[in-house]
């Protein structure tokens, strides 16, 4: 149990996907302008990460590994994730239109998001069991959510400030991201020692 909590907390804070592993930078910079789109995008990412892990972990363990097909990992995972996202979108559209309305726009964006492919591959590389892998995906998704929501607040402040001309747009956003990620460095080493 303690191991699960450590995995969850370190995925959220220490190994934050966006701010310390540099995965999912595209949506982080592209969709974080407004709080509501940042929230929608990150909820969709959490959702897709969870189902992607639930499907790819068994595929790797029960299909690829016993047949010595481990080298097909990349191709199989990206295809499975792409198909899964399409399927989920169709199902949501048909049966839960209200959810599709709030998450639907973001789903196709996630297909080629490196955070989702990254979490599925890392789960295998770290040798997690199924439950640990699911917890790790949840933590990674929550970490993504935290970074997006925090950063959309930072960006709304930047919008109204007077910025030197060559720094306008992306450069100032990246420098703000540097400071945000600096604040996450402070979590390093805390969580391992919390339960020791």
């Amino acid at each position: 149990m303690i191991k699960l909590i450590v995995i969850l907390l370190s995925a959220v804070f220490i190994n934050n996907y966006v701010l310390s592993r540099f995965l999912g930078i595209c949506p982080f910079l592209g969709v974080s302008k407004k709080l509501d789109s940042a929230t929608g995008m990150s909820l969709a990412v959490i959702f897709v990460m969870l189902i992607a892990t639930a499907v790819t972990w068994p595929i790797q363990m029960y299909l690829l590994n016993p047949n010595n097909l481990g080298y097909l990992q990349t191709i199989v995972f990206i295809l499975v994730i792409a198909a899964l996202v399409q399927l989920v979108e169709i199902i949501l559209k048909r049966y839960i239109p209200s959810l599709h309305k709030s998450l639907g726009v973001y789903l196709p964006l996630i297909t080629t998001n490196c955070a989702v492919l990254g979490v599925t591959i890392l789960n295998i590389d770290e040798g997690y069991t199924f439950v640990e892998a699911m917890v790790n995906s949840l933590g990674s998704g929550l970490g993504f959510f935290l970074a997006m929501v925090m950063f959309s607040g930072v960006r709304s402040t930047i919008e109204g400030s007077d910025i030197p001309k060559s720094f306008q747009g992306l450069p100032i956003t990246l420098i703000a991201a540097a400071i945000t990620s600096l604040s996450f460095l402070g979590f390093g080493g805390i969580i391992e020692n919390l339960f020791a």
Partner: protein, 229 residues
């Protein structure tokens, strides 16, 4: 199109990282040391050239509606091949690039060039375009890695630099330093390279997701309009 122009545009004028702002994830993550940056650049360039050649050759065969999944499968195939080659011949590089090697599949530069260039142009032009873009990507990575390694680690390609080795700014090799150096480099390009600062602040053209992203900004605009009314 003039072959030289086609090649050279990727280096500075349309540099995939610093001007088009594609492929940010690997740029930030692997630019901690010069060796890693060059390895990543070379791996991505090889995949880019192979995928551009094959996609350009197959551009009349692949049906338009399913082109993106087809491209992804082709690219994933080449990435797997490169991954196995690196594992066999440069195991140390494989260790230090880790997860970012398979993640070349979702690198926007590769899918972006397939979508923007290879499916409209002949094989040779596509290969030249891929070579230029690949070298531009490697160049940007090399610049970032040079700054980060010299300041953060006091070394260049592993060689120690006299004064700096005793005065390391370790934060430069960590995550915040990556964002910071990248921001400064883009600001520098805005200031000195003669091109207009981008209207949109993020590299959307060529991103395979641009279509749905466009929908996103549309819904935001209509929402704003509704609020204003």
């Amino acid at each position: 199109m003039n072959t030289w122009k086609n090649f050279a545009k990727g280096l500075i004028k349309e540099n995939p990282v610093l001007v088009l702002v594609l492929g940010t994830c690997p740029t930030l993550a692997t630019s901690t040391s010069v060796i890693n940056a060059l390895g990543m650049g070379a791996a991505a360039t090889v995949v880019l050239i192979c995928s551009n050649i094959v996609i350009s050759a197959l551009r009349k065969v692949i049906p338009d509606k399913v082109r993106i999944p087809c491209y992804i499968v082709l690219i994933a195939g080449f990435v797997t091949a490169v991954q196995m080659l690196v594992k066999a011949f440069a195991p140390a590089l494989d260790q230090s690039l880790g997860i970012y090697l398979p993640l070349i599949v979702v690198n926007c530069i590769i899918l972006g060039r397939a979508e923007m260039f290879a499916n409209k142009n002949k094989v040779f032009a596509s290969a030249i375009d891929a070579l230029g873009m690949g070298i531009g990507f490697t160049l940007a990575l090399f610049m970032m890695a040079t700054i980060r390694e010299i300041l953060g680690n006091g070394t260049f390609c592993g060689m120690e630099i006299p004064v700096l080795i005793d005065n390391k700014i370790t934060i430069m090799t960590m995550a915040p330093g990556g964002f910071f150096v990248f921001g400064l480099l883009i600001a520098f390009m805005n200031k000195f390279a003669k091109h207009k600062p981008r209207k949109k602040d993020f590299g959307c053209e060529g991103c395979p997701q641009a279509e749905s992203c466009g929908k996103l900004s549309c819904t935001e605009k209509t929402k704003e309009a509704a609020v204003n009314d």
